[in-house]
């Protein structure tokens, strides 16, 4: 349903996407993660048909996405900077979306508006940031578009509302299975509703896999410095920390560590622990070079 091949997008002098390739066929709840500026929003806009690729291909439902009416009617994009008709009330917007998105469930939309205490008669422009985010999510979910792109849907919402929202997204996905891509920074909160992860870094796809594989991609090894040092020399280390003189911890790729095929005694003195999704993300996307420590020590 979604196929990107060597997708590249330039904006004047800046390269937002640089050879991005991936494929999504079946219904899925996939998290799209990456640092700010990695290219997530640009990717979403290209998939929605708003932007034309500078090179490479972006195919949605089998056809090139740019300005394609078949794509436009089956894709809904929720973005922080989107605006609606000036002075439109929430009710009017619900009707507008209902007219254009043929799967729109008005009853659901109104029910959700009521649950989140949003007054239908209010104007969208008068809502606070959090309420506007909530409304946007409600309306784009209720659209039940086969491909739903949510760009930082939880921005500006307080934690309790965010929790409710994840529940709504999951429940609606189960009720009407479709492709839902969520770009978010709230990794820890969101991970349990996801099935797959798409990590975009430097305009490319760094990792696209099931959640578990993503979680177990890296592993932390803890042990005495003597035990750790030889491993450190052989593998790429994402982080090295000393917990006092007797213990050192490094973070490496699990697969690389397994390939070392250490003997029982060597492996026995090491303690392996998993890494949280958020930490994995941080390690995989961190910048090389000087850190904050250095700033504060000089």
């Amino acid at each position: 349903m979604i196929q990107c091949e060597e997708l590249t997008k330039d904006f004047g002098g800046t390269r937002a996407l640089n050879g991005c390739s991936f494929q999504i066929e079946a219904p899925t709840l996939t998290g799209v993660i990456g640092v700010n500026g990695a290219g997530k929003t640009t990717l979403f806009k290209i998939l929605a048909g708003f932007l034309r690729p500078s090179s490479g291909e972006a195919r949605v439902l089998g056809e090139p996405a740019f300005q394609n009416i078949n794509v436009a009617q089956n894709v809904v994009l929720n973005e922080g900077r989107m605006t609606f008709h000036a002075n439109a009330t929430l009710q009017e917007l619900v009707h507008s979306y209902g007219r254009f998105y043929l799967n729109f469930d008005e009853k659901l939309a109104r029910g959700l508006l009521e649950y989140f205490q949003l007054d239908e008669k209010r104007q969208y422009s008068k809502l606070s940031k959090g309420m506007a985010s909530t409304f946007r999510l409600i309306i784009t979910l209720a659209a039940r578009a086969p491909i739903t792109l949510l760009d930082e849907p939880a921005n500006g919402m307080d934690p309790t509302v965010r929790k409710d929202l994840y529940e709504v997204i999951l429940k609606d996905y189960i009720k009407v299975p479709r492709i839902i891509l969520i770009a978010s920074h709230y990794l820890g909160e969101m991970e349990q509703i996801l099935e797959n992860m798409l990590l975009i870094h430097g305009g490319k796809v760094m990792l696209h896999s099931a959640l578990e594989e993503f979680q177990t991609f890296l592993v932390a090894l803890k042990g005495s410095p003597q035990a750790i040092k030889p491993i450190e020399e052989k593998l790429q280390v994402y982080e090295g920390k000393d917990f006092g003189p007797g213990i050192r911890q490094i973070v490496v790729k699990r697969e690389a560590f397994q390939q070392l095929q250490l003997k029982e005694e060597e492996a026995g003195v090491l303690k392996t622990t998993g890494i949280s999704l958020e930490d994995s993300f941080i390690y995989l996307t961190q910048r090389k070079g000087g850190g904050i420590d250095e700033l504060y020590h000089s």
Partner: protein
């Protein structure tokens, strides 16, 4: 998942968009009425002249529908610009450049027709108004000789002029959306070119060929041959539609 995928035609969606735009721009009609009321108010105060001697004085009040026409044109220009300005927002609903363009033009035409009808009626309304407000009303000869064909041609004339202005404003708006910064540069160059060109033409070809804004206006206004005028309008409006279509065709949406 295939059951929820739809494949409606561009035309279906374009028509739906037209309805949606009219619905959301309904207050445009309200603004038209307000502007026209202002026009009526000013119509009454267009001009006065008076004269008198010791024994006798009189004042003559001239009521003209020119302010009305002026405001309606302003209204059309604003609508044209407004529709073009929506370009970054409306794609979040179902739309592509074709459907957006189609619905914009359809809405502009509906607005132009509305403007034309109201102007047509305003002529009669103005006559009634002054007859009611003042005594001793003399109507211009052209008013009293109006028959059905004249009404139709008045309507067509007004509508086409309004459509032209609306299309012009829309084209300007689209070009601005498409070219952003370079647009203003382009305008600057265009004006410079026109001034330079007309000065050059006047010097080389004699004063008769020098173009000014006045002569551009007269190109349309003073055309008395009906079919030629219609042709001029059709070509102008067609050209404006063409330019705006070229402008919108590959427009990228980037707020």
């Amino acid at each position: 998942m295939n059951s929820i995928i739809h494949k409606e035609t561009q035309m279906t969606i374009a028509l739906r968009q037209t309805r949606d735009k009219l619905y959301h721009n309904a207050n445009a009609f309200m603004y038209l009425i307000i502007l026209q009321l202002l026009g009526y108010f000013l119509a009454n105060n267009v001009g006065m002249s008076g004269s008198g001697t010791e024994y006798f004085s009189y004042t003559v009040r001239i009521a003209s529908s020119v302010p009305l026409i002026f405001f309606t044109i302003i209204w059309m220009l604003l609508q044209g610009l407004h529709l073009a300005g929506e370009k970054s927002r409306e794609y979040y609903l179902v739309s592509n450049n074709f459907t957006a363009y189609f619905s914009d033009i359809a809405v502009l035409e509906i607005f132009a027709v509305t403007g034309g009808v109201t102007l047509l009626l305003s002529e009669s309304f103005l006559q009634v108004m002054v007859s009611v407000l003042y005594e001793n009303v003399t109507l211009q000869a052209s008013f009293s000789e109006v028959g059905f064909i004249n009404y139709v041609s008045l309507f067509v004339t007004a509508t086409l002029y309004l459509l032209m202005f609306g299309a012009a404003a829309y084209t300007v708006g689209i070009l601005r959306a498409r070219f952003k910064g370079r647009f203003f540069l382009g305008i600057f160059l265009l004006i410079a070119l026109l001034i330079f060109g007309s000065v050059l033409a006047a010097r080389l070809l004699g004063p008769a060929f020098g173009s000014t804004i006045e002569s551009a206006v007269n190109f349309y206004l003073h055309e008395t041959r009906g079919m030629i005028w219609f042709l001029k309008m059709a070509v102008t409006i067609g050209a404006l539609y063409g330019i705006s279509y070229l402008g919108i065709r590959n427009l990228e949406v980037n707020a």
